[in-house]
Symmetry: C2
Subunit: 357 residues, 2 copies
């Protein structure tokens, strides 16, 4: 285990997952030395408020641990980082990460403030619209690391993790996935505690894809809740939703096992059933008859699944995968299809043998 | 499609699933002719009450459809049956079905009241203690059909089906599984309606095994609820529980796909998350500190998962499969292990890579 990764940690984003990561990493541990932690917020006001009060409107009841720095200056936050935790919503990642990249054309023309050996772990769940890139791919593309140097370690951390429960230290599990097993193992030690159990995986493609796509299924689950369709219907949706996101994953080269594990079915379950899930809550409002624009206007948090639905439709077309639930969600979100009509269409498809792959 | 299967249907058992099946099969349908339906109850009092009032204490709000007969005489109920629906709890099946079997030693010595060409579909979820037989196997063994005649069609019907939701005609899905695809297809037509969607499967081993074993995981899920552990923990348990029952299924020759489908993860989800699930509710009481004997004494319904835990432990040993959650549930149910201690043991297992198979 390389101790250097633990020394200076920059957390980009002061949303729920950013705040929770700060707490997890600042907690005293016998299995690792303490780290210097800086949380970066894009808003100077929010950074100031968080630094002074240690509290945030984004996560009621949360208290930022003593010793964690807060900054709204990106260059300062990452200056000595040995690890960067990216807790920025996927559709904003490119904007946030671009100042940290080398110049695309000439590696000498612009010096990045990010140390070249700093590893990166993303906790965001989505797929960038138009490029269809996953979080780790966006970061790699934007950083333009010098191809002649040792490749930078990039990882993702995912799993069934409703942030408000993590903030209360309720028992939970996560998957640390990276092409570099060494980095996944380091993150396992770094994030593990008596209440948080970290498993490792080498299937970063599958983990990121499962984390993104389950948000779309969760919107459908919320629609069922809004229609008061019951647990049988929602569980059937979970199973059929798992089947379709697994089909997409397989077509893209991910491991099926990932979708049937914590980052797949585990995350899907908590997202579909926790009353606090953002994507489920959005779907529930739609199921009750609210319009998407109205819902998004009154919510303060980013509903990743809405943008991800667009990306998933593109991927389904590109990889020729049948995704009836995603298509139904797309219809409700963007084509003004009535939720009851969308569900009826799903239920009245031709009777057949169950098939996953 | 053979119309004969629809003519006379006997439903054995007047518990929740028996009652719900009566409603489903008695509902008018354009895709099949109406059937003569008889519900058999082991208790003459219960049969009389149900026949007179059309209501049952076992399923509040339920109304038995007009035209459905009720009987407490098993021979009468099955006399002209072309299909028997077995809705008897697994540990009572042998006792109920034995009078319907031929004599074991001589096929001419005792004539069964059950027509030799009547098909059978079981809706029970469990594994018989000591014999470790599945419902369809118990029925086949007890019937002692003449091996020289055409083999009797035996099937199972399973899936995410909380009975009180089915009674309200909320949307749901089920799997009809049989070694005989023709029987599964007949059941698909027979049970399908605008709100109930039936898929077919040939993996009756997997469907029965998944239906039985998910009840044990649901007891563990209930324990977490009793401890107020949150949705992240319960979803992680669902994923890890799915992994261990899938391992057992694979070792026994079932298809992995079955466990990742409606009869597996779908049923597991509704059983773990619906507040009405009996196995989850039992676990919740244990998690709150109640003793098993006290809980079983005050509940009127059969908690299938309790007996199934014993069978699953035997199967795990027999097929050399590691089943940590089942073992933890067994400890809490039968070895007086404290629920918090059982959960801590699960959480503190050595950190490792996620593995399903």
């Amino acid at each position: 285990m390389n101790d250097s990764i633990h020394q200076h940690i920059a957390i980009l984003g002061s949303g729920q997952m950013g705040l929770v990561c700060a707490s997890i990493l600042a907690a005293p541990s016998l299995s690792r030395p303490p780290s210097n932690i800086t949380v970066w917020s894009h808003s100077p006001e929010e950074a100031g408020e968080l630094a002074q009060t240690h509290r945030s409107d984004r996560l009621p009841g949360y208290l930022l641990p003593d010793g964690v720095r807060v900054s709204s200056r990106l260059e300062d936050a990452v200056a000595h980082a040995t690890l960067v935790v990216s807790a920025v919503p996927v559709q904003f990642m490119r904007r946030v990460w671009t100042p940290l990249g080398q110049s695309a054309t000439d590696h000498r023309s612009r010096k990045s403030p990010l140390p070249s050996d700093a590893a990166v772990v993303s906790v965001a769940k989505g797929i960038e619209n138009t490029t269809l890139l996953r979080p780790s791919q966006i970061i790699a593309e934007v950083l333009h690391d010098n191809p002649d140097t040792k490749p930078r370690g990039i990882a993702t951390l995912s799993g069934p993790t409703i942030a408000s429960e993590l903030a209360r230290c309720l028992p939970a599990t996560m998957i640390a996935a990276s092409d570099l097993p060494k980095l996944a193992a380091e993150l396992q030690v770094l994030f593990s505690s008596s209440w948080l159990r970290i498993y490792t995986s080498e299937d970063i493609l599958g983990v990121e894809l499962a984390g993104a796509s389950k948000n779309v299924i969760a919107i459908a689950a919320g629609i069922l809740d809004g229609l008061q369709a019951g647990h049988n219907a929602k569980s059937a949706l979970l199973a059929r939703g798992l089947a379709e996101i697994t089909r997409l994953g397989s077509a893209m080269g991910a491991s099926q096992e990932t979708f049937f594990g914590l980052a797949g079915v585990g995350d899907l379950a908590t997202t579909c059933f926790s009353p606090e899930g953002r994507n489920r809550s959005c779907g529930e409002a739609l199921g009750r008859g609210e319009k998407l624009d109205a819902y998004l206007a009154r919510t303060t948090s980013v509903v990743e699944g809405v943008a991800t639905t667009l990306s998933l439709m593109d991927l389904a077309r590109k990889f020729r995968v049948d995704m009836p639930i995603t298509t139904a969600v797309h219809g409700v979100l963007f084509q003004n299809v009535d939720p009851i009509e969308a569900i009826s269409r799903l239920m009245s498809r031709e009777l057949k043998a169950e098939r996953i792959s």
